[in-house]
């Protein structure tokens, strides 16, 4: 039995220290408690009890399960296709990157400088990018730095191209 004091005071709506909770919070907590208690009750039913309950309510659980399994099959298949697509894209990106590194490695310093100038002139790079700033300052860039910058920018441009292809 609930103590009379609890009932008359209306325990629902009081926090653990007895201070009233805000009305909307306590109401929502109480409704959450009800939802969870009912859910736990369902989870505690044995297989035969849940079947009996379904029969009582004319619910065909085998048919429902079959519908769910069909949807599950579709979801698994979609999810696998999406993962495969992503894996292929990652692989392509890696391949493009290594091809780009190989081709840059075989370029002469003059060719690299010309290609970097081409990229700057294209306006594709932000005005405050390392490359634009380096060219704008007129300072000397070492050959190694140029190779590394070119590899980075070729990679960036390849990604931009792939993003714009994906957006189409």
């Amino acid at each position: 039995m609930l103590p009379e004091s609890v009932l008359s005071a209306g325990l629902i709506g009081k926090s653990i220290d007895g201070v009233p909770m805000s009305k909307s919070k306590s109401d929502n907590d109480a409704l959450k408690a009800i939802r969870d208690l009912a859910s736990e009750e369902i989870m505690s039913l044995s297989d035969s009890e849940i079947r009996a309950r379904a029969n009582e309510e004319l619910v065909d659980i085998d048919k429902n399960a079959s519908t769910i399994r069909d949807s599950l099959k579709d979801l698994i298949s979609t999810s696998r296709r999406a993962r495969l697509h992503q894996a292929r894209e990652n692989l392509n990106a890696v391949n493009e990157k290594s091809a780009s590194y190989e081709s840059i490695a075989s370029m002469s310093a003059a060719d690299i400088k010309a290609r970097l100038a081409e990229i700057v002139a294209s306006g594709l790079m932000a005005k405050d990018s390392r490359l634009t700033l380096a060219f704008g300052s007129g300072g000397e860039i070492s050959e190694n730095d140029m190779r590394s910058l070119l590899a980075d920018y070729e990679d960036l441009m390849a990604r931009k191209r792939s993003e714009s292809d994906g957006a189409l």
Partner: protein, 186 residues
Amino acid sequence: MKLPATNNHDRREVEDALNAFTAEDWERFRRVARYQLYRLAHLDPMDLLMDTVERFLDGRRNWPRGELFKAVFYNAIRSVADEYRTDDASKPYVTMADLPSGLDGEPANLDNFGTQELSPEKALEAQQEMNRVLAEFKDDEDVQAVIVGRMLGSSAEEVQAEFAITPEEYHAARKRLERWLDRQID
């Protein structure tokens, strides 16, 4: 020795666990989804169920090693339903006609309105609903004890000790509550 990348089961194991659910398991989860959507009548429990499944398959939800998948899945349903409820609660009751036009002259979207706070209408609705529950169980002290105990975060054993009810009375009260909720949703 190769260490596992994470402490979670991989996708294949998640797929296998989902495929291993029996018809009875799915029925339990369907009913749980139904109860968790209580007062969100415009949402379909099957959509909640499949949305939860999808989140496990695409990696938004994980199954930590050492935990029972059924328990993890059960909690995920509750959590996704809570997300739906939060989204729903933040939307005020307005019709399209109430909405001002956007800058481009197009009608504004309902999704552009509301905050994460419970709207006054929703708070009132929750209060009315709670009054209805209390009126329903005004003579059933065991059910009241079960609800109050849960709100206070007490375990079943603590509720039984605190309110001097037996385990059988506790389970019977929870069953009455569940049956009542089932009738409300029908």
